[in-house]
């Protein structure tokens, strides 16, 4: 039976919500929705939370001075601009208020509709209205979803980048999510969007950290290994930004390779499944692709971290070999964000029409092959821009700062042509140039670059184009931070 109840929010506003039997519940909270389904009203399963002063204080800070989805002007995080607030309000399902009646609770915006399955998502299971938790897409459950629902490698890479950026934003403010997992990051591979949810158990500076149980497979090994110690024992490791960095690396690995980095064939204990798992995810955890310890390596791996290119391979080794049991060694979210952005530029479209991944990272042009379907790349389809930035203080000297693999109808942005722009939440997302190909020729079309000079030395005004030839070099604009770009074809 449904009935409408009324919540009173911290500022006295009244908010109606629909009471349902067996409301959707997680480990900590259960959720009701407002009649228009725009907001979720959540209460804690354990009502002792309702009186937990630390929780109240934490929520006050989360909604106020640490809120990246609200500009500083509107009471949000310090230094947060309107643009940045808008950007992150799409990346987080951030609480907007606390509830003070009928009991302590929180109000969050409902997630956008693309994070719910619809009646066409699966032929086998009725998933309509269920949220898109990431393990639908990264586990064997994937086979029950329609191909269209699963996106492609490019969309998975995009979500990895968005997630790294969101976690970097949290960490930059001194916050930690504390329970990043397949359940708390919803993904929509179809559109390449993701959203971080369950923001209430954040670790907030200066406030006693929440005791979050975490989710199997995402809990950092040191947290699981010390979880047997009594609450309050100083040897017990609690959730922090370091444990987030473990979960982040696990999620990125899952998005890109569709498997869990620690679940392999190794038997850790023959006493019980529970004990085996406790060691496999905890004190004895071993990366399935550890190059120095192959005890947990499955016989068939298919695509491996090496296929993702050097920047990501390096970070996965850092996260799951060096940093697995040494939290300080784990790559930061910023490092992931940078490596993923760099890797994004090497996306190459697979020419095999049946390739489900559709895109791959072309990191080795000497041996150009799609690692997902083993389709060989036609050498003449490889056209690349090599970016060089001015070495500061050394006139006339340039240093490599990246490579961009071109495809037809591609758009270039400021971060492709200027050395001082990084593709983060502050970057302007208006294309500055277009790339297209016709009859084996490739063209660079100026949209709005000032002082773009062709390899032959002519100024190319907006709306005009020039051909990209092997070996040609040009300057993207007359901006002092403009990059020097050289072209290679077929190599």
């Amino acid at each position: 039976m449904k009935r409408i109840a009324e919540a009173i929010l911290s500022d006295g506003t009244k908010l109606p919500y629909v009471i349902t039997d067996n409301p959707p519940a997680g480990g900590m909270k259960h959720t009701y929705f407002t009649p228009d389904k725009k907001f979720a009203v959540q209460f804690f399963n354990d009502s002792s939370h309702a009186n937990d002063i630390e929780l109240h204080k934490r929520m006050e800070y989360i909604i106020g001075k640490y809120n990246p989805t609200l500009s500083e002007k509107n009471g949000g995080a310090k230094g947060n601009t309107e643009e940045s607030a808008n950007y992150f309000s799409k990346r987080f399902c951030w609480p907007v208020s606390t509830v003070r009646y009928p009991e302590f609770g929180i109000v969050c915006p409902a997630y956008p509709p693309n994070f719910f399955f619809d009646e066409n998502s699966s032929e086998f299971i009725n998933l309509k209205g269920k949220d898109k938790r990431s393990n639908w897409f990264t586990s064997k459950n994937r086979k029950y979803l329609r191909d269209e629902e699963c996106g492609n490698f490019r969309s998975m890479l995009k979500m990895s980048l968005l997630l790294a950026r969101s976690v970097r934003r949290l960490h930059q403010a001194g916050l930690a999510h504390a329970d990043l997992s397949c359940n708390n990051v919803l993904i929509d591979p179809k559109s390449g969007q993701c959203v971080v949810i369950d923001i209430d158990s954040l670790v907030v500076p200066g406030i006693f950290p929440p005791e979050v149980a975490g989710t199997r497979g995402y809990i950092a090994p040191e947290v699981l290994a010390t979880s047997m110690l009594p609450s309050g024992d100083s040897r017990r490791k609690l959730p922090s930004s370091y444990t987030d960095l473990h979960a982040l690396a696990v999620l990125i690995y899952e998005y890109l390779l569709l498997r869990h980095p620690l679940m392999g064939p190794k038997i850790y204990s023959k006493n019980s499944a529970e004990e085996d798992d406790f060691l496999a995810m905890g004190s004895k955890a071993t990366f399935i692709e550890n190059p120095f310890d192959t005890s947990n390596r499955p016989d068939e791996l298919g695509v491996v971290i090496k296929d993702l290119g050097e920047p990501l391979e390096k970070l996965f080794i850092q996260a799951f070999v060096n940093g697995l049991h040494n939290p300080e060694e784990r790559p930061s979210a910023m490092e992931w964000e940078k490596a993923l952005a760099k890797t994004w530029n090497l996306l190459h479209k697979c020419e095999n029409p049946d390739c489900l991944a559709e895109w791959f990272i072309l990191h080795d042009t000497k041996n150009p092959v799609c690692p997902f379907c083993r389709h060989n790349v036609r050498r003449d389809s490889i056209v690349r821009l090599h970016l060089k930035s001015k070495l500061k203080g050394k006139n006339g000297q340039w240093t490599d700062c990246g490579t961009v693999d071109l495809h037809d109808k591609m758009q270039l942005y400021k971060w492709h042509v200027l050395s001082n722009v990084f593709p983060n939440e502050k970057a302007e997302r208006t294309p500055v140039a277009d790339i297209y190909t016709s009859n084996q020729q490739w063209f660079f079309v100026n949209r709005c670059l000032k002082g773009l000079t062709s390899p032959e030395g002519f100024i190319i005004p907006a709306g005009h184009q020039f051909e990209l030839k092997d070996g040609s070099v040009f300057r993207a604009s007359d901006d002092e931070n403009s990059l020097l770009i050289s072209v290679t074809k077929g190599k």
Binding site: N135, K140, N141, R216, M263, P265, K270, A273, E275, F278
Partner: protein
């Protein structure tokens, strides 16, 4: 990944004695349907939970062997006869021995099984019941939750099987539906929290309204 994932065996022991005739047995059928559809739409449960149904009337049998959710066929349920709960516990012990993979040096074992018992009476096979309780205690590898449904159910027998005993006051279709919904939340919660603290007590969601935990 599938090769290294463990199964969470879930056994449902369902009372199909004569007193369940009519609305109650129909509610149980609907309950199983709802349970399956609910679990299939939960990614963790879909990946790990395997279901088996053991029914008991004047005797007991495994009606559906341990099967993954997508392949599970709903059992034919008919209500008649007495309440061979003891027989059902023996069938359960056999099934756990035969179906649940043990951890060995070369094989990843299954998770500890979850067992839900639903009965509206008390065992009529009291002697077998006494022995079966001892046997289940010695197997001791399962988390058992027993639910006494309606005013005729005797919780003192269930208390001998497990500490986790629930009581629901009526055999109404509403209460039975809530029971199955609660079973589904329990399975979902367990499939998420499998790893924590080996040997720790099982965590279950709060029981539905109108259900009482028997101390």
């Amino acid at each position: 990944m599938s090769d290294f994932s463990r199964r969470l065996p879930v056994y449902l022991l369902l009372d199909c004695s004569g007193s369940m005739t009519g609305e109650p047995i129909e509610a149980v059928r609907q309950g199983i349907k709802a349970l399956l559809s609910e679990l299939k739409s939960d990614p963790q449960a879909l990946e790990t939970a395997y279901i088996s149904v053991i029914t008991f009337d004047s005797s007991a049998r495994q009606t559906s062997p341990l099967t993954e959710l997508m392949l599970f066929k709903e059992p034919q349920l008919k209500a008649s006869g007495a309440t061979a709960l003891g027989g059902a516990l023996n069938v359960l012990a056999d099934c756990i021995e035969n179906e649940v993979r043990k951890a060995t040096e070369t094989q990843k074992g299954d998770w500890k099984p979850l067992v839900f018992i639903l009965t509206d009476g008390s065992p009529t096979d009291t002697e077998e019941f006494r022995n079966a309780v001892q046997r289940i205690k010695s197997v001791k590898t399962a988390n058992i939750i027993a639910c006494a449904a309606g005013s005729n159910a005797k919780t003192e027998y269930l208390k001998q099987i497990t500490d986790n005993v629930l009581m629901m006051n009526t055999l109404s279709s509403g209460d039975l539906a809530s029971f199955f919904a609660w079973v589904s939340s329990s399975v979902k919660m367990s499939s998420q929290k499998l790893d924590e603290k080996p040997g720790g007590a099982i965590q279950l969601p709060p029981p539905p309204q109108g259900f009482v935990i028997v101390p």
